[in-house]
Symmetry: C2
Subunit: 710 residues, 2 copies
Amino acid sequence: MTSRFELHQENLKKIFNPESVAIVGATKLKGTVPYDIVENILKSDFNGAVYPVSPREKHIASVKAYKYVIDIEDPVDLAIIVFPSAVAHMALEQCGQKGIKSVIIISAGYREIGEKGIEREAQIKEIAEKYDISFIGPNCLGVINTDPSVNLDASFARQMPDPGNIGFLSQSGALCTAVLDYARAKHIGFSKFISFGNKADISEIDLMFYLMKDEQTKVILLYLEEVSDGKALMNAAREVIAQSGKPILIIKSGRTSEGASAAASHTGSLAGSDEICDAAFEQAGILRCDNIEEMFNKAMAFAYQPPPRSNRVAIITNAGGPGVLTTDAAVKEGLEIARFSEETTKLLKRHLPSTANIKNPVDVIGDARADRYNAALTAITNDDAVDGIFVILTPQSMTNIDAIAEEIVKVAKETDKPIYTSFMGEADVASGIDILLRNKIPHYILPESMCKAFESDFRFHHKIKGHRFKPVKVEDVDKEAAAKVLEGALQSGRQVLEEDEAEIILGAYGLPVLKGGLAKSAEEAIEVAKRIGFPVAMKIMSDDIIHKFDTGGVILDVENEEAVGIKYQEILDNVKEKAPEAQIRGIWVTEMAHKGEEVILGIKRDAAFGPVIMFGLGGIFVEIFKDVKFRVAPLGETGAREMIESIKGHKLLAGARGKNPADTDSLVDCIYRLSQLAVDFPEIKELDVNPIIVYDEGNGCAVVDAKIMF
Amino acid sequence: MTSRFELHQENLKKIFNPESVAIVGATKLKGTVPYDIVENILKSDFNGAVYPVSPREKHIASVKAYKYVIDIEDPVDLAIIVFPSAVAHMALEQCGQKGIKSVIIISAGYREIGEKGIEREAQIKEIAEKYDISFIGPNCLGVINTDPSVNLDASFARQMPDPGNIGFLSQSGALCTAVLDYARAKHIGFSKFISFGNKADISEIDLMFYLMKDEQTKVILLYLEEVSDGKALMNAAREVIAQSGKPILIIKSGRTSEGASAAASHTGSLAGSDEICDAAFEQAGILRCDNIEEMFNKAMAFAYQPPPRSNRVAIITNAGGPGVLTTDAAVKEGLEIARFSEETTKLLKRHLPSTANIKNPVDVIGDARADRYNAALTAITNDDAVDGIFVILTPQSMTNIDAIAEEIVKVAKETDKPIYTSFMGEADVASGIDILLRNKIPHYILPESMCKAFESDFRFHHKIKGHRFKPVKVEDVDKEAAAKVLEGALQSGRQVLEEDEAEIILGAYGLPVLKGGLAKSAEEAIEVAKRIGFPVAMKIMSDDIIHKFDTGGVILDVENEEAVGIKYQEILDNVKEKAPEAQIRGIWVTEMAHKGEEVILGIKRDAAFGPVIMFGLGGIFVEIFKDVKFRVAPLGETGAREMIESIKGHKLLAGARGKNPADTDSLVDCIYRLSQLAVDFPEIKELDVNPIIVYDEGNGCAVVDAKIMF
């Protein structure tokens, strides 16, 4: 038996490469979606047969129409259902009877309209499963395949895009129309263009895997309003990148809580924390973009130009000011301003006027024409110290804009180094930009965008692509012991585990908990204290007391047996006075921790991405500077150390201000153990180790306080 | 006698409104700057007489030419010198003889080429002063005045811009060409357009003041590569904003040190720290922009639309996705997503289909046509809870783009609330965008840019414009006492003042220094200690010892007379061992400070902006989190408190984590006193008070250690 995933991969072949297409629910009424789709397929010069299906019409757009899909005498590879949602399920049923496995459901009126729609969506899913049908949609714009051997525009978009190497997937149909319009003006071509709407059956993940194998696709773009299965998305991205080396760029909308609530009213999705989404994308090697322009700025770099060998760039400009602005932007993005070789310097000196600036950024001066740009460009692309070239132009009176664009195209064809351009202005430079874009030279309105695109390209090829994710599995844990405590608490109906129980669980997972024991009488307390050694700390354990310190429920540094006896009673008296109703489970007697660097570890659970590990410096650093890092569990081989090193206050642990370096190896171990715990027990909703004290190198850590919510 | 400033204001009138113009150094050779300028003036339909001056030609572009400017029989209001720099000074001399006061020097070959050019620049300045001439340039593109009663294009730009309300000033001529081209495509008009080049005579400050009074100018834009006199720029900006309420937007290039060094090679300017420039602009109410696009995005908002009454915005869209992206962007910029009144909700429900989202962001749904946009727009602009409207459009198959643009224009004419737009895409939406821009409706490619422009507009009108800067002058200081110590040190050739002297200076300015005295023997040390009370701290004073602690030169908490005697010798012994060569001035005996919140105060001197005050939390907060704030001195009435409140760690002083609030009133007083010291003594290059301890509210501060470099 094949899985739905395998089925989708198989059926997607006919969604993109059908030899015959039925449009089920077509009409003759121009300006309607059902008509537009018939017209678009015919206009796109589709290499196959089109069968309109309409209960009423004899022919549509001069093509014979059939009453029902089952009436079509020939086999049908792909059915596009455009009937209203109230009847679409009947059409799908007939597709099943006819043996059609590949379907696009354009119709709206499903999940996005509420309860009735959710029912209808369940119904079509059921039919699809019954007949081994795979469908895209519902509530989508359709699918476009620009492959010249297919030429399929099965959408109601205004115009079919040019062929190209970008695969575009979008949850929003409306955004597709904006993207197509934007891309047309910029001569950006697509391999496949897919609006997947409510993704009731085929999801963005199925489509990503399809595009992974698609030869025409070099870059995968995705606009997403809702992450349904974050883990699956991460795994898919990792696999696609590892197997194909294709970059994945995603816009995920709903960054702020207001935006998320707008998204919720729009798609009915439950939004997770955006910070966690950021972390997850980063972990999976996904390049997150904020908007369409940023996405295509980066996509152009990936699709058009070879990857840079290093981040050393050269800037060529005919105006000093923009050269400075570009240098600023490059440095801000972490690029290096290349230092030219002597040979290059000599060449530049020879070919440029004496007033020119022959250092990087090279200023060929305002009256430069194409020959001078060519001389500079040729010298610089041949310099081994340069691995990327930014060409800037301002339209001055002598500037022959189009000729300069042609020179750039010529040089770009002969080099394996990426060349990016920015022709500043708009009207006069338009024809020059057009030449660049038609010849696949990335062009950017702003130097910032150019530098950001280069940085993304460099980062992907040098830091993301070759990286293989291997989750760290910690084996030496006592899962059973932890499970026992958790089960006990679950059965007793409690939702919080305090220090006594939390430390058993953490201890079972090998975290460095302090020695301690729960005492139910003064005698027991003395026994425990004698066992672990003095001084000890004593804390009241009660689910009803949240602020233990405020109720006098905590006493530190208890020095000897006698004191333990006295303090035991003192704590009980304090609590009786301040919280007379509280149920007391006993008093936790524990080792006193030595001083060290306080940090916080935690587990949170995200609706989309599952268990998330949190790390930060304690106290004010978390509260005021928000200096924390999130990572979806499980972490990979370098994950824990990266977490530690990526917080701003990391220097405090590395030994700033004359301190000894802290034992980060031990902290790394703690993080992996916590990650394992998070993965093993999905019932843990939240866990706080606050603080865990990190000692000097070689001296380990100590869990001082912990709490588990489930 | 009038000042050069007053003279410039007078002479600028004829630069912009001449009745006759001489082009000195004109030629017949097409495609050269001298010819292009003659042609541009003639083409621009200039309302006055044009006199080409050429030693060789009889006529240029069919206009009679004169051999020398003095040969012209009629009076000449404005001379434009285009002769090479080697002879331009002679032409200027003749202008003086002819009585011409207003001049533009286009010619390059001055300061930007090095020593020879610097000489030439000095020479033309001298001539100008001799004849009371004011000139713009040299090394510039020229000047444009679009006022229909003048129509002057005295530049070699490719094309004259449309009339409008934006005044544009640029140090870079090349950037001007890019700006004109950019603006032409977007129908952005200018009142005055000025390339001021090397600003050897008339500066950007003179021009800002001229534009302040210019009736056609509503917004002032400035592209600057070099701040020559930062204080004057700040004062000018403050005065222009206060007197005219016109916003000032500046691009200052050279943000990074690499960019600054590129700028230096380009203009020969010495770049100051960019952080200080940021601070100075903020203090002066200047809106700093990073690039041309950002600048015009904001300028459009100011020039085209009424100021918003509040930051509550409504979003209208025909697609959910972009609505979410816009909501995200708005919230990120601190805007408020308006909540509609019941009346509006009722109207939206009546006019929009049931599938529409009638909450903010309003989704009029993909098949919306102009009527539906109009209904939503009308209902929302009439809602008192809304003070700004963002209209988003995606080009879907039913969308009648141009008609929707026309509806927006119509509604905008009838409301006093700002309406901004974003038609997503590029090709199909182009004609709609054109309608919007021709009708002065700001249009933005990205929702982010739209929200940023709105935020700037709101901030300027509500937080900057009405704010009057009053520098705080601290009177109760003993300037003479401080001067005496400084002079003494200066005369002795030292460049560092240590604690003993620094504390006298700070004490003279009323900063809370600890009691202390310099002892040259054990007996003196005991005397001082008895006077100030035990315990005391003892520190070696020597210009040759930088790390006092490391040499054993500091002993804290000395409890009694006997100990003072012993420790005196101990310090001397320690120092003799570790730094045998050091010259010892004595031992500073001082009060021990109590514990409190440690902060840092300082003075730095910026090449462009003069004395700068620095404030931050001590230790790791400065070192690791870079949590410091700069402000150019003197500070205004709210300046010191704003400094304190704007650092991230401010909560630590406000009483976070159960602490008592710190005595910020006392800290504010210290900052003003330091600001006064910085203003009074320009010879102080750097001053560090590190730390100053801030106690609980009402308990003041204490200067614990201080150092002055000069």
